[in-house]
C-alpha cells in the first residue's frame, strides 16, 4: 500500500464528468476502481479509475506481433526498445467529487480538470476520509461508461475497504446504500454484492 501520494499520469482530455490521463511509463496504470485526484488553483477533483487502455500513439498504426523468434515475452520489449515510445497507456477517470477548501463534496466539480494537470493516486488517509461518505456510489451507478457498472462499483468498494479500520462494516454499510439505490433491481444488487463479499 502506498503511503504517500504517487503521481500516476497527466490529464490529456477533460470533461465535467471526468478526464483521461496518460501514464508516464507504459503499463504503470492505477488499478480499476482506485481513487485518484488532480489539482488546479485550489480545486481538487477526485475521480475513480473506470477504464484503462494501452494502444499505439498513432490511431492509424496498429501494433504488430513481434515475438515469433523470442522464447520469453519480456524479451520482445528488450529487443525492440522503441516500443516504449510508440505505445502509450491511458486511463479514464470518472469524477466523483471535489474538495473546495476543507470539506469533500461527493458530487461533480464546478469545472473540469485542466489538460496537463498531474494526476495522483490518493493516499490511504485520503481514501479513508473520502470513504466516510458513500454519496459517490450514486454517481458510479448512473455514469455513462463502457465498463459494467457492477464491476466498477465492486472494484471501487474493494479498493476503499482495504484501508478502512473495519472493512466488513464498511462493506455492509455500502451494501445497504446500494440496496436502497437498487431497491427495484435485485439482480444488479446481487451482482455487486457477490463481487465484494
Amino acid at each position: 500500500m502506498k503511503e504517500k501520494t504517487q503521481r500516476v499520469g497527466e490529464v490529456t482530455e477533460a470533461a465535467t464528468t471526468g478526464f483521461t490521463a496518460q501514464c508516464y511509463q507504459l503499463y504503470e496504470l492505477p488499478p480499476l476502481g482506485s481513487l485518484v485526484k488532480t489539482q488546479n488553483d485550489g480545486l481538487c477533483i477526485y475521480g475513480i479509475v473506470c477504464n484503462a487502455v494501452t494502444a499505439g500513439i498513432e490511431p492509424g498504426r496498429r501494433p504488430i506481433a513481434r515475438g515469433k523468434d523470442e522464447t520469453e515475452q519480456e524479451a520482445v520489449y528488450k529487443s525492440s526498445p522503441q516500443l516504449e515510445k510508440l505505445l502509450r497507456s491511458e486511463f479514464e477517470v470518472l469524477a466523483v467529487g471535489h474538495k473546495d477548501g476543507e470539506s469533500i463534496c461527493q458530487y461533480l466539480p464546478p469545472n473540469p480538470a485542466r489538460i496537463h494537470s498531474f494526476v495522483y493516486l490518493c493516499s490511504d488517509d485520503e481514501v479513508k476520509e473520502f470513504g466516510q461518505s458513500l454519496g459517490f456510489i450514486n454517481i458510479l451507478l448512473n455514469a455513462a461508461i463502457s465498463t459494467p457498472h457492477e464491476e466498477l462499483i465492486a472494484a471501487c468498494l474493494r479498493w476503499m475497504s482495504r484501508v478502512q479500520p473495519d472493512s466488513h462494516a464498511f462493506l455492509v454499510n455500502a451494501g445497504k446504500q446500494l440496496a436502497t439505490l437498487l431497491s427495484g433491481d435485485y439482480n444488479r444488487l446481487r451482482a455487486v454484492l457477490e463481487r465484494i463479499k
Partner: protein, 537 residues
C-alpha cells in the same frame, strides 16, 4: 447503534386512523423480537401516541427477491439485505395520544395519526404507568403487560360501575382471574360482591388445574366474606366453615322463575302459561297445592275451569317434581335466604353462595335468578328511597354469575333479572360480573352493555366476534386475541381501561401471592387509620 437510541424500533411509513399505522422496522430490530399485543409509543411531531402491535409481517422491495432468494449461507448478503431490501413490518393501532407540550399529560383517545417517519419505540414502564396509573387506593394490580415487568393496574371503582364480563374457553384461567378481581373489588372496589359459586371455587378454597388447592376469599379475608351454602353436607366434608345454609321455600318460587326454567325442566309454552294461571288461582302456595292435585274429578274440574289441558298439566307436574327433588327446596323455609344475604351485604360483607353437589343447571338457574330478583328489588327500593329522601344509597353490588349464557341467551335474557340488570346498568347500584366460555351464546344486546371485558383465549370464531362486537379496531384485536397463550394470558378492553391491553394475570396461589394481597389490604387500613388521626389533629 440505533438500538441504544431509546430502543427505536422503526418508523411510520403509512397508515390510517381506521386501519392503524404501518411501521417499517429498522435493520437493527429483529422481527422475531416483535410480539403481537405488545405496547409501543410513537413520537409524533406534536403528540405522543400509544398503540398496540396488531400484526407483524415481512416485506421485500423487489418481488424478484422472493422468486430467486439469495444464498442464505452467506452472512454478508443476509446482513446487507436485512432492513434494506428485506424488512420487517408492524401493524400498530394507535389508541391514545398525549400532547408533549406542558407538564400535564392526560391520555386522550386518538383522533389522528402520527406524521410520516415518526419514530416508534417500545413502551417503557413509565409509559404504562402514565396510561394505566400506579397502584393506589383505587387501582388494583392485576398483572403485567405482555413481556413487561411493570404492574398493570385497573381502576376498580370505575370497573364496578358497569356490568363486566370475563370470557375464555375452559381451562384458560377464568376462575383464577375472577378470584383475583373479586379480591381486588373487596379491597378497593367500594362495592360488595355476591357470588353464585357453581363449582365452589371462590368461598373457601379453589383448585388449580394441577390439582393444587389454593386459598379463596374467606381464608384470606375472614371478616369480610360470608360463605353461604346450599349443600351443608358437602361443605362440611370439605372442611368449609359456612355462615348460613340456604333453603328455598315453595312459596318463594314465582311464576317468572318457572318460565326461566322452561328449557331445563323441559316445559312446554302452555305449561309455562299454566303456571301463571295456577299462581293467580292458588296464590303463594301454588306449588304445594299443584303438587297435591291428583287424578281426581276435582282436579279435572279445576283444570277445565282454568282452561289447562290435561297433557300440559302433566308436563308441568313432571317439572315441579324435578324441582321438588332438589334437597334444598322445602315446603317452607324458616329464614328467607334473601334477608340474610341483604343483611350481610348491608354491613359490607361479601357473600359467596356455594352450590356444593347441586351443580346442575336447574338448581343454579333457579337459585341465582330467584335470589337475585329479590335482592334487586330491595336495592331498587333502597336506591329510590335514597333518591327521594336524600340519604346514602346502598353500597354498589356486583353479582357474579357463571355459565352466564344460560341466563343471558337471546331467548331468556329479556325475562331474567340478569338481562334487566345488564341493560339498566348501574341505575340501582347493581351490576353483573358475567363469566362464560361461550360468549356467542349471550344476547348481543347484553354483550354490548358490558362495560369492561376481559377475555382469555377463545378458539371459536363466533365467540371471538361476539366478544369484540362494537369495539373499534375489532379485526386487529381479533388477531391479538387469537394469539393469546392457552393459559394465563388475557386481553382487557372497555370502560375501565384507557386502551386494550394484553396481560399476564398476577400470580395467585403461592404463599408470597397471598402475602402481597394481604399487604395491600394492611397498607390501606394503615392509611385509613392515619387519615382519621390527621382529621383529629
Amino acid at each position: 447503534m440505533t438500538q441504544q437510541q431509546n430502543d427505536r424500533l422503526g418508523i411510520i411509513v403509512a397508515g390510517s386512523l381506521n386501519k392503524g399505522v404501518e411501521v417499517r422496522l429498522d435493520s437493527t430490530t429483529s422481527v422475531e423480537d416483535m410480539v403481537v399485543g405488545r405496547y409501543v409509543t410513537i413520537e409524533g411531531q406534536k403528540q405522543r401516541f400509544f398503540g398496540m402491535i396488531n400484526d407483524v409481517s415481512l416485506g421485500v422491495t423487489d418481488p424478484r427477491l422472493t422468486l430467486t432468494p439469495p444464498d442464505t449461507a452467506d452472512p454478508f448478503i443476509t446482513e446487507v439485505l436485512a432492513g434494506t431490501s428485506t424488512y420487517g413490518q408492524l401493524q400498530v393501532m394507535p389508541y391514545l395520544t398525549m400532547t408533549t407540550m406542558g407538564e400535564e399529560q392526560e391520555p386522550k383517545p386518538v383522533k389522528t395519526v402520527p406524521s410520516h417517519f415518526s419514530a416508534v419505540k417500545l413502551a417503557q414502564d413509565s409509559d404504562i404507568e402514565l396510561v394505566f396509573g400506579k397502584e393506589d387506593k383505587e387501582r388494583f394490580f392485576i398483572g403485567n403487560p405482555l413481556d413487561m415487568e411493570v404492574k398493570l393496574c385497573l381502576n376498580l371503582p370505575e370497573f364496578a360501575k358497569r356490568s363486566n364480563g370475563i370470557f375464555g374457553k375452559s381451562g384458560t384461567g377464568k376462575t383464577f382471574l375472577t378470584r383475583m378481581l373479586l379480591i381486588g373489588m373487596l379491597q378497593k372496589g367500594a362495592c360488595v360482591n355476591l357470588v353464585f359459586d357453581m363449582h365452589s371455587e371462590y368461598g373457601w378454597a379453589g383448585t388449580s388445574e394441577k390439582g393444587r388447592t389454593v386459598k379463596a376469599m374467606k381464608q384470606l379475608f375472614p371478616s369480610r366474606v360470608a360463605v353461604f351454602t346450599l349443600d351443608e353436607e358437602n361443605s362440611q366434608r370439605r372442611g368449609v366453615s359456612t355462615d348460613f345454609v340456604v333453603k328455598i321455600g315453595y312459596d318463594e318460587i314465582e311464576a317468572e322463575d318457572m318460565s326461566l326454567l322452561r328449557q331445563t325442566l323441559n316445559l312446554t309454552e302452555q305449561a309455562v302459561e299454566a303456571v301463571y294461571t295456577l299462581r293467580r288461582r292458588f296464590g303463594k302456595d301454588w306449588i304445594s297445592r299443584t303438587l297435591k292435585m291428583d287424578d281426581s274429578e276435582d282436579t279435572k274440574d279445576i283444570l277445565s275451569q282454568l282452561n289447562i289441558h290435561e297433557s300440559t298439566f302433566q308436563n308441568l307436574k313432571r317439572g315441579l317434581n324435578t324441582l321438588q327433588r332438589l334437597p334444598f327446596i322445602e315446603p317452607h323455609a324458616k329464614t328467607p335466604a334473601v334477608d340474610k344475604i341483604i343483611a350481610n351485604l348491608n354491613t359490607g360483607v361479601n357473600v359467596v353462595l356455594e352450590f356444593g353437589r347441586y351443580r346442575d343447571t336447574t338448581a343454579y338457574i333457579l337459585v341465582a335468578n330467584l335470589l337475585t330478583r329479590r335482592i334487586y328489588d330491595r336495592y331498587r327500593d333502597g336506591t329510590e328511597k335514597a333518591m327521594a329522601e336524600g340519604v346514602a344509597a346502598p353500597t354498589p353490588l356486583v353479582i357474579t354469575i357463571e355459565e352466564a349464557h344460560k341466563f343471558l341467551n337471546p331467548e331468556v335474557s329479556r325475562q331474567t333479572i340478569f338481562g334487566i340488570i345488564a341493560r339498566e346498568m348501574r341505575k340501582y347500584n347493581v351490576s353483573l360480573l358475567v363469566i362464560d366460555q361461550r360468549p356467542s351464546g349471550i344476547d348481543e344486546e347484553v354483550m354490548s352493555q358490558l362495560g369492561t371485558k376481559i377475555t382469555c383465549l377463545l378458539d371459536n370464531e363466533r365467540d371471538r366476534d361476539s366478544v369484540l362486537a362494537g369495539v373499534s379496531g375489532k379485526n386487529e384485536l381479533k388477531s391479538v386475541l387469537a394469539k393469546l397463550a392457552a393459559k394465563q394470558q388475557a386481553l382487557i378492553f372497555g370502560h375501565a381501561v384507557p386502551m386494550p391491553v394484553a396481560f399476564v394475570p398476577r400470580e395467585y396461589g403461592s404463599a408470597a401471592s397471598y402475602k402481597s394481597f394481604m399487604e395491600t389490604a394492611a397498607d390501606e387500613d394503615e392509611q385509613a387509620a392515619k387519615d382519621i388521626e390527621e382529621l383529629w389533629d
